[in-house]
């Protein structure tokens, strides 16, 4: 005989009952009443920690029994894989290791792969709309796009060489020259083929060097780095939301800082990829990737008061490492 609470589902009245088994029937003994339910109709809820067992009867009544294991045996419903996983510390240790492994794999392989796939599936039209919208929103971020002071002849010459490079691509490339004193000597690419060169960069570098830098930017566009970045950030956010679902706000804040560092890691990978793309193109055209290295060196030299931050925190991989790779014969 097993003691249990019988809750009929109509009132909050608690009936203390005794349970026993007769053949394939569960016998419920109340005070002055009795009820039989076929064992097959007794739905035992999965065992959870030390909680009393809960059995749902067909008419909505519930049995609550503190002796969970004994009731499971009485009903002949043993074998609960989830409860067994949750019962032992050694499985917890394995689970922690599994989570760390899954997180590392997700970070190195899964997330980049998923973002890559999502970027490939995104229509080029949408991607270039995204790039145009970003370009249009730059003034709101405090970057005023002032018209270029470069001689039109030089702009034209660069534009022609650039078109020769990009005409085979399915991205609708657009090259913009702007005078951006706040940004300094720089070039950047937006999703879908919007590429911006600052006057400051054009005055610093030769035409050959500018083309090398533009090929690096083309690498960002062709490999869809901007879009992949958006997807990866969204994916990280989603996973953080799932994992930190019930974490206090202080923990979430600290995690957000960590996510920023993690995000930087992806950016460094993208710079390497863009370098590789440019080097490949240059070699194919019979030129040396060292041109890009020269351009990089001039760019770095032009930055005011420059700090070598440790590699983990740097967006661009340590420049020395990039230069070495590009100058390899």
């Amino acid at each position: 005989m097993l003691s249990a609470s019988y809750l009929d589902g109509h009132t909050s009245h608690l009936f203390t009952v005794q349970l026993s088994r007769v053949d394939e029937q569960l016998l419920i003994h109340g005070e002055g009443w009795e009820r039989q339910v076929p064992l097959a109709a007794c739905a035992l809820e999965p065992i959870l920690g030390n909680l009393p067992a809960r059995v749902n009867l067909p008419d909505g009544a519930v049995l609550e029994c503190p002796a969970a294991q004994a009731l499971a045996e009485l009903l002949g419903q043993g074998q609960q894989p989830l409860a067994q996983l949750e019962a032992r510390w050694r499985y917890s240790v394995l689970a922690v290791l599994g989570i760390v492994l899954a997180a590392v794999l997700l970070y190195w392989q899964g997330m980049p792969l998923a973002a890559h796939l999502a970027a490939k599936l995104t229509p080029v039209k949408l991607e270039s709309m995204l790039g145009e919208a970003t370009l249009a929103s730059l003034p709101k971020l405090g970057i005023t796009l002032q018209p270029s002071q470069l001689p039109p002849a030089r702009q034209q010459a660069l534009l022609q060489r650039w078109q020769a490079q990009t005409q085979a691509s399915h991205f609708p490339y657009q090259l913009h020259f702007y005078d951006l004193p706040n940004v300094g000597a720089n070039a950047f690419a937006l999703p879908g083929g919007q590429v911006v060169v600052t006057d400051q960069l054009a005055t610093l570098l030769s035409d050959d060097e500018i083309i090398a830098v533009l090929l690096h930017e083309m690498g960002h566009v062709e490999r869809q780095h901007g879009l992949r970045n958006v997807y990866q950030a969204a994916g990280l956010g989603l996973i953080a939301a799932v994992v930190l679902g019930d974490a206090p706000s202080a923990v979430s804040n600290v995690a957000a800082m960590a996510a920023l560092v993690v995000q930087l890691g992806y950016t460094r990978q993208f710079e390497r990829e863009a370098d590789e793309f440019a080097a490949q193109r240059l070699r194919a055209q019979g030129k040396s990737p060292a041109v890009l290295a020269d351009a990089l060196e001039k760019l770095v030299g032009s930055q005011p008061a420059h700090t070598e931050v440790p590699e983990l925190l740097a967006t661009h991989p340590a420049t020395a490492e990039r230069l070495r790779t590009l100058r390899q014969p």
Binding site: G49, G98, I99, A234, P248, V251, V254
Partner: protein, 356 residues
């Protein structure tokens, strides 16, 4: 009679154990990660079943009966909405604004739905709770009332929180009986908030002092920092980062203690038919517990979170008791006719798990 009727007073007891919950939580987490978040709906049900099931009142446990699939559908809808919002706002600022407006319009409806869903899935002695709040009520309490914060420079916050608590309690029911508020707890809400504000000021001043000491005391010249080597840079910034984290943790601890004190005041004014509630959990003890457990959670990369969650529930719930002159046997489940039961199923589709 099957209950200890002599005193008519029952204390709530929480039986959860940190280690036991850790083992459940870590399996939940592993399966959620492996299934890319899909399992998280099942994990939520298992987590709530653990906490509700470990809450004992007069010899019976609470239960959470939601179907994980419904929670999953709700989460997918929410995810789709935010994905559309993210893409839309990147394409055109107007689209982003439009989505924001749409969200504001849908928000009160979602608040009512999610409170109702979660209460309907909560059972005690196999009798469900329910919620009767209207969308207009949610508009008033969650959209319009918070506007008071602007002209009052935030001073209306305890009042707004109190009204939101009342909105939930006043429209909740257990079986065929409604919850009600005996009197206003708004004074208690203000006292708790003011005490918390005082403690937060002390914590904030502590941080300001750390910043000052780092910059002036150590004689660090910020413009010099750029040129120095990374090790020095980190050494100079580290006290600031640690000070900042201590401040964040401090604020979270104080905010949690204030919420507990406010909940105490709220529950003491709450009644359910002839049943009245009492809540005497100590905000100081709660704050002390949080003050050492929360940093532990940060330091262990979240692994200590289950112990924190269990300790929170234990302190909150063990402080609660009920006075029931007529006992707890007389609540009747509301008989739903077939038609409305089907309707309830269909409208329960949207469980958006808002953290309210």
């Amino acid at each position: 009679m099957d209950e200890q009727m002599q005193s008519n007073r029952w204390a709530i007891q929480f039986h959860g154990q940190g280690g036991e919950y850790f083992r459940i939580w870590i399996v939940n987490l592993l399966l959620s990660v492996l299934t890319l978040g899909i399992y998280s709906a099942w994990a939520k049900v298992r987590r709530l079943k653990y906490f509700y099931g470990n809450t004992e009142l007069a010899g019976s446990r609470f239960d959470y009966t939601a179907q994980p699939v419904k929670i999953l559908i709700g989460r997918l809808i929410a995810f789709a909405f935010f994905a559309l919002y993210a893409v839309g706002s990147n394409l055109h600022p107007l689209l982003g604004g439009l989505f924001g407006l749409l969200f504001l319009l849908v928000l009160p409806w979602m608040i009512v739905r999610s409170i109702r869903f979660n209460l309907r899935q909560t059972r005690y002695r196999n009798v469900p709770f329910d919620f009767h709040g209207t969308v207009w009520g949610a508009v008033k309490n969650y959209l319009l009332l918070p506007l008071l914060l602007i002209p009052s420079l935030g001073l209306a916050l305890p009042y707004v929180q109190h009204q939101q608590f009342r909105f939930v309690v006043d429209h909740a029911s257990f079986g065929d009986q409604r919850f009600s508020q005996l009197g206003s707890a708004v004074g208690g809400y203000y006292r708790a908030a003011l005490a918390g504000l005082g403690v937060m000021l002390v914590v904030g001043l502590g941080f300001a002092f750390t910043v000052g000491a780092t910059i002036f005391g150590a004689g660090v010249n910020l413009s010099e920092l750029n040129k120095s080597n990374p090790a020095l840079l980190i050494a100079a910034i580290l006290p600031l980062v640690i000070g900042y984290i201590v401040m964040l943790v401090g604020f979270s601890v104080v905010a949690a203690a204030v919420r507990l004190a406010q909940a105490n005041f709220g529950w003491r004014q709450t009644a359910l038919g002839a049943v009245s509630f009492d809540s005497q959990a100590s905000p100081w003890a709660y704050g002390r517990m949080m003050a050492w457990r929360l940093p532990l959670v940060v330091l262990t990369f979240g692994l200590a979170l289950p112990w924190l969650k269990v300790a929170q529930s234990r302190m909150r719930l063990n402080g609660m008791s009920l006075h029931a002159p007529e006992g707890l046997n007389q609540f009747n489940a509301v008989v739903q006719n077939a038609g409305s039961a089907v309707g309830a199923e269909a409208t329960d589709l949207f469980d958006v798990d808002l953290a309210i």
